[in-house]
């Protein structure tokens, strides 16, 4: 339990829980708070989700608020969009983000654009939850990171929590947001990341990044699972006298420009890390923001450590190990930048 945890504030009761429990708790509390909130997706009802993320919701709220959908992601997204436009607050689950692509048209062409297209007459308070990432022996169809597919779509908000605290707070913020939010939860974090979660009704603001660790030698900017490796690597590098400043983006769209620039200014040396492949990924956009705004404060080329530009996560274990980021790879890149 050496995970990084958000420290308890005075007087607030904290429970230590796993990332997946924080997601489940957020849905449960929002459904209790607002009867317009409901979940739909494949196996979310009776089975309680293939990862148990929605376990207990059907027992508590009934079949109509924990709705088992047919194997048709475009229908799941479409039904949710319709319900949202009508005033409901749907949480649509894509069983794996890999299965999300049949719903892309609904999400990009309908959900993202309805407010703009109707000149503010209609909006779409929709949440789409989708587990991203590999490292679970899932191969091609259960390991993808689709952030970059949706990243360049104005009208969508995208969040990707790393801590259980953020997992709960961001999901609540997403449910209450008047516009469509894609909630990318990392399936390897489900049981791996444990942290303190206050039992108060709090939200984490969408669009705000978070400094996980302060340091003076290098700035690491990342989101989701790779932060786990970065935090571990930073701990070890501290023994070598290298101090790392680590920024968790938390929200990918819109990016928290101010926080990114502030973190980059701190050291002038920036390393951006994500599991999604390098070319066309979030890192390119973060890098461009820094280059546009503060070229003269940079002390080293902006560096990126990402998944390789190959078509898919291999199913064979050595191949998966090669593809995935890990503490060693992250540490090596951090050290390289520090020594530069």
């Amino acid at each position: 339990m050496s995970m990084q945890t958000i420290r308890a504030k005075e007087g607030v009761k904290m429970a230590v829980m796993e990332y997946i429990d924080a997601i489940r708790l957020a849905m449960k509390e929002e459904m209790e708070r607002d009867e317009d909130v409901f979940v739909l997706g494949e196996d979310v009802g009776l089975k309680g989700g293939v990862f148990t993320t929605t376990k207990g919701l059907q027992e508590q709220f009934g079949e109509l608020r924990a709705l088992d959908a047919p194997l048709a992601e475009s229908a799941i997204a479409g039904v949710a969009i319709g319900a949202a436009m009508y005033g409901m607050k749907p949480i649509a689950e894509m069983q794996y983000s890999d299965f999300m692509f049949p719903a892309t048209n609904q999400i990009i062409s309908e959900a993202a654009k309805i407010r703009y297209r109707s000149n503010n007459d209609w909006n779409c308070p929709l949440v789409v939850r989708a587990p991203i990432g590999g490292g679970v022996f899932g191969g091609l169809y259960h390991s993808q990171c689709p952030e970059s597919v949706f990243f360049g779509t104005p009208g969508l908000k995208i969040v990707a929590p790393y801590t259980p605290y953020d997992a709960k707070g961001l999901l609540k913020a997403a449910v209450r947001d008047p516009d469509p939010v894609l909630y990318f939860e990392n399936k390897k974090c489900y049981k791996l990341v444990v942290g303190e979660v206050p039992d108060t009704d709090y939200t984490v603001p969408i669009g705000k990044a978070n400094v996980l660790r302060e340091g003076d030698d290098i700035t690491v900017i990342s989101y989701s699972l790779p932060l786990h490796y970065a935090m571990e690597a930073a701990e070890e590098l501290a023994q070598e006298g290298i101090s790392a400043h680590i920024l968790d983006l938390r929200t990918l769209q819109p990016l928290d420009k101010e926080a990114i620039l502030e973190a980059a200014r701190r050291t002038g040396k920036v390393l951006i890390i994500h599991e999604d492949n390098k070319f066309g990924g979030i890192g390119g956009e973060v890098s461009a923001i820094i280059a546009e705004e503060m070229l003269y404060e940079l002390d080293a080329p902006i560096m990126r450590l990402c998944g390789p530009d190959v078509p898919a996560m291999p199913i064979n274990p050595p191949g998966e190990k090669f593809f995935m980021l890990n503490k060693e790879k992250v540490k090596e890149s951090m050290r390289h930048l520090a020594l530069y």
Binding site: M1, N316, F322
Partner: protein, 455 residues
């Protein structure tokens, strides 16, 4: 041709992130075959044997008994014949760092050499100034040729300029322009300053004190009266569960005393024959569990869980049995205890207790408990205030049987008496229901007589 291959800690279950080596079954020098157990490992709940993935000779143990390591960490080295190693590429080819190891650490030493070279020899980057360096230099009027570079290829980093400015060398360098040799000598010294932490004595403030991870029996710090004992995974689980139970559940407590004289007589009459016939001891605990199960049947609310907006009453009666070992307590479960007779319960107690002490419990053995019974009398207690086995609704203890003078019909009699203690989740249960429950346990226990059937 022989190759040394690393064996890594495998992922035993999807959710598992770390495991502890309990003990090594093979020692360096021992031959190992594929699937032969190398070591025993402990996870949060279950123990398992770790089979070898290859055939060869165990060369070196990398992780000692008692150490907890993340999944994927190499735990030992096995020397194999080359053709065999090729047959199982997943273990030899998977680790790219290992490829270097085969060729005699050549890669490693080259890497180390690379770092030192960039430290002093290589100066190819000495005159490549980054925008940040130029900006700070311009702001403070720093002559960059005087600033020592600690970066790659002798590059001046942003921190180097900042350190140079902070050291006050700028003024000294700027003022006596006539004697550059003095100014040039200064930075030579400063070169070391920012990197080497100031150390007066003992641990420096910036350094986190190290806590020894592995406890050596009886080890202590000279001069202090303390010994460090490492937290085992099971200890950690117990600590978490206990804390969760005490903080979340408002505990209530009550106790009754039971006259078990008849039971003592009954058991003494039957125990030898039972032992001969069944091969296990006929313990008081078996009778006690039977009495508890009967009482739960009458008051099913005892067998429940608090679920915030409702109470979940469990239909199955699965009795968690507290079994203590030297350094921990585990609660294996007697499933469907209401469908078993006293002989069946006695047999199950024996099996579970043996498994617990041998560390052979499977995950299935410890899951699904709905109510906990603790035989505290077995270690001489006459009164306990047990902590509820979270998330159950209550726990009951059976204390020592002692002979005491008791008043019966205004006459004194010497009877075998035992206390029964109950801790209850006061969100679910109140005094009246628990009083009735205990009364039913008492009635059943006192009602056991010579006619009692074990089967």
């Amino acid at each position: 041709m022989k190759t040394v291959v690393e064996v890594i800690m495998p992922q035993l279950a999807e959710s598992l992130v770390s495991a502890t080596i309990e003990k090594w079954l093979k020692q360096p020098g021992d031959p190992v075959d594929v699937y032969e157990p190398l070591a025993e490992i402990i996870t949060d709940k279950v123990n398992a044997e770790l089979p070898s993935t290859l055939k060869g000779t165990l060369v070196k143990i990398l992780v000692g008994a008692g150490e907890t390591i993340p999944v994927g960490t190499p735990i030992c080295l096995v020397e194999t014949e080359d053709d065999i190693a090729e047959g199982i590429p997943s273990s030899s080819g998977s680790n790219p760092q290992e490829a270097g190891k085969g060729s005699g650490n050549a890669a490693l030493s080259a890497e180390a050499a690379g770092f030192t070279a960039s430290g002093d020899g290589d100066t190819s980057m000495r005159h490549r100034y980054s925008p940040a360096v130029q900006q700070i230099a311009a702001e403070h009027g720093v002559n960059l040729t005087l600033v020592p570079g600690t970066g790659l290829g002798g590059r001046i980093t942003r921190k180097d300029v900042l350190a140079y400015v902070a050291s006050g060398a700028v003024k000294q360098a700027a003022a006596p322009k006539a004697e550059p040799s003095v100014a040039a000598a200064k930075p030579e010294q400063l070169n070391m300053d920012p990197r080497v932490p100031v150390r007066s004595s003992g641990i420096h403030f910036s350094e986190t004190p190290r806590i020894p991870h592995i406890e050596v029996e009886g080890q202590s710090i000279p001069g202090s009266g303390e010994t460090f004992v490492d937290i085992t995974p099971i200890r950690n689980t117990i600590a978490q569960k206990m804390r969760q139970s005490v903080t979340e559940i408002p505990h209530g407590w009550m106790m009754i005393e039971v006259d078990v004289t008849n039971l003592v007589v009954l058991r003494n009459k039957l125990k030898d024959e039972f032992r001969a016939r069944e091969g296990v001891n006929l313990t008081y605990l078996a009778f006690f569990i039977k009495a508890v199960v009967n009482a739960i049947k009458d008051y099913p609310i005892i067998n429940s869980v608090w679920a915030v907006d409702k109470i979940i009453v469990k239909r199955d009666i699965n009795i968690s049995l507290s079994v203590g070992t030297e350094d921990s307590v585990i609660t294996p479960v007697i499933k469907n205890a209401d469908q078993k007779n006293i002989a069946g319960i006695a047999r199950e107690i024996d099996v579970l207790a043996r498994k617990t002490r041998d560390g052979k419990l499977k995950l299935d053995d410890v899951q699904g408990g709905t109510f906990t019974v603790n035989n505290t009398g077995s270690f001489g207690s006459i009164l306990t205030q047990p902590i509820i086995n979270y998330p159950q609704a209550a726990i009951v203890t059976f204390e020592s049987i002692v002979k005491r003078p008791v008043v019966i019909n205004d006459m004194l009699a010497v009877r075998s008496m035992a206390n029964v203690c109950l801790s209850l989740d006061h969100r679910i249960l109140d005094g009246v229901i628990c009083g009735r429950f205990l009364q039913r346990v008492k009635d059943t226990l006192e009602g056991f007589d010579q006619e009692m059937k074990l089967y």
